[in-house]
């Protein structure tokens, strides 16, 4: 988890943006190195698999490079990139819904040994089960609620950053988060019932 308060460093980031607008690819490489992990995590939690998260991450930075001249520095680069990533993930999810793609937990073999350490097999199995449960819960939620849960509860962003990403007011973010939590609670309760 990347803990960030969303505090902008006007000087450094503005200089970076100015150089990117001038076509400096080295400056954009710095932007890529700084934010690519967070963008990948966000896409991974929304989509649930590494391949799609990779595609969305690359597409996000490609779109950002092409549209860097229209970036007005009203929000931080992080917020802007996550907004692009969220829109691309939403489009990808919609295409899944059209093609009736079903989430298959048996394909999640990348979780084995993801930490790079030798672990107890039982712990691995338990972790995989937890992972499956998490993604099953998230995939069962409406798209808008899933996004706000991931942004606030997993990526740990504050209300102002989330409102900038979603393009809504702070009050709207609070209301959406309240409804998303209630829906998440109901879904977890139904999944955790014995016999389910």
């Amino acid at each position: 988890m990347i803990a960030t308060t969303g505090v902008r460093m006007p000087g450094a980031e503005d200089q970076l943006v100015t150089r990117c607008r001038a076509g400096d690819q080295d400056a954009f490489a710095q932007v890529y190195a700084q934010y690519e992990r967070q963008v990948f995590r966000y896409a991974y939690h929304l989509l649930g698999n590494r391949e799609d998260a990779d595609d969305i991450k690359q597409e996000t930075f490609l779109r950002a490079y092409q549209a860097i001249k229209s970036f007005r520095s009203e929000s931080s680069l992080q917020t802007w990139l996550l907004k692009i990533c969220g829109n691309l993930c939403r489009d990808r999810i919609k295409s899944w819904d059209r093609r009736k793609v079903v989430y298959d937990s048996t394909l999640r073999d990348e979780q084995l040994g993801a930490s790079g350490e030798s672990e107890d097999p039982l712990a691995i199995v338990q972790r995989n089960e937890m992972t499956d449960t998490i993604f099953r819960v998230l995939r069962g939620m409406p798209e808008a609620q899933r996004i706000i849960i991931v942004l606030h509860e997993i990526e740990d962003l504050n209300y102002d950053e989330i409102s900038a990403i979603l393009g809504c007011s702070r009050t709207s973010v609070k209301l959406r988060l309240f409804r998303a939590r209630r829906a998440l609670k109901e879904r977890v309760t139904s999944l955790m019932k014995p016999g389910v």
Binding site: Y32, A114, V188
Partner: protein, 288 residues
């Protein structure tokens, strides 16, 4: 009912309670209520379960991304067209300007030349309609065309050959189209009247005759029974009977054997002298 309002207040803060974001006093207050309220206790358990799951998701190790900057950088360099130099722009602008000027000149010449020939006094469609019909023949488009053809040759006009073969033919065609009289081709040609019968015209006899009678114009046309029958297609319709006044005459003379009709209610002399419509239809022609 204060219990219900307290449950609502507790319910709103259960998420922060489960996330351990409340102070010690607030936590103690909520735990005191949970010990008394089973419903709130169940809801608090659900909140704890959900918060724990989200905590696990937060700590979940995310697999490493397989794409790097080296995969992205080739896609970032778009193919750029070489910028146009001022030396390259000048001949292009000159050619474009010359083409525009030539097109504008041709358009002005074409419009001016066609407009002048129209204003030279050629008969227009409206003037053709107002011309009196000199002949007894039916009004047909072909009958009107010779007038146009005669007028056409009466004026000198620039020939389209001056513009070249292609443009000249287009010019001549456009001029001919402008000069074509406005012939109502949808109108049926008038049938040729039988000898001795009044000339048929566009509008019905009875209405015009009533108009003329009201205005004190010429004598209403008296139509014999045979005429009326022929005009009505062999049947004397009730409308015709209504409009015509049958005045039987003595059968002594040959001319007076037939019933004579009078249009409207104006009586006619029994001799019928001078009351028969002329065969050439001049009375009708003069009347209208």
């Amino acid at each position: 009912m204060w219990f219900k309002s307290e449950c609502n207040q507790i319910s709103e803060r259960l998420w922060e309670y489960a996330s351990q974001h409340l102070s010690a006093s607030e936590t103690a207050q909520i735990e005191g209520h949970l010990q008394q309220c089973a419903r709130c206790q169940a809801e608090a358990d659900a909140c704890r379960q959900t918060v724990a799951l989200l905590g696990a998701a937060r700590r979940l190790p995310v697999p490493a991304s397989r794409t790097t900057w080296q995969d992205l950088s080739p896609r970032l360099a778009p193919a750029r067209r070489p910028a146009l130099r001022s030396a390259d722009l000048l001949p292009r602008l000159t050619l474009a300007g010359a083409g525009t000027a030539l097109a504008a000149t041709l358009l002005v010449v074409f419009l001016t030349g066609g407009h002048r020939s129209t204003l030279a006094g050629n008969p227009t469609a409206a003037s053709l309609d107002r011309q009196p019909i000199a002949s007894a023949g039916p009004k047909t488009p072909s009958a009107a065309a010779p007038n146009v053809a005669q007028d056409k040759t009466a004026h000198s006009e620039p020939d389209g050959a001056a513009f070249g073969p292609t443009l000249g033919s287009f010019y001549n065609g456009a001029v001919a189209l402008l000069r074509t009289p406005n012939v109502n081709v949808a109108r049926k040609p008038m049938p040729a009247p039988a000898p001795g019968l009044p000339t048929p015209h566009r509008r019905s006899y009875p209405r015009l005759a009533r108009l003329d009678a009201a205005r004190g114009h010429a004598r209403p046309a008296a139509i014999t029974a045979d005429t009326a029958a022929q005009l009505d297609g062999g049947n004397v319709s009730p409308r015709t009977q209504q409009n015509y006044v049958l005045s039987p005459v003595s059968a002594s003379t040959e001319d007076e054997t037939a019933h004579r009709y009078v249009i409207g209610s104006i009586p006619v002399s029994q001799s019928g002298a001078g009351m028969v419509a002329s065969s050439d239809g001049t009375e009708e022609g003069r009347a209208w």
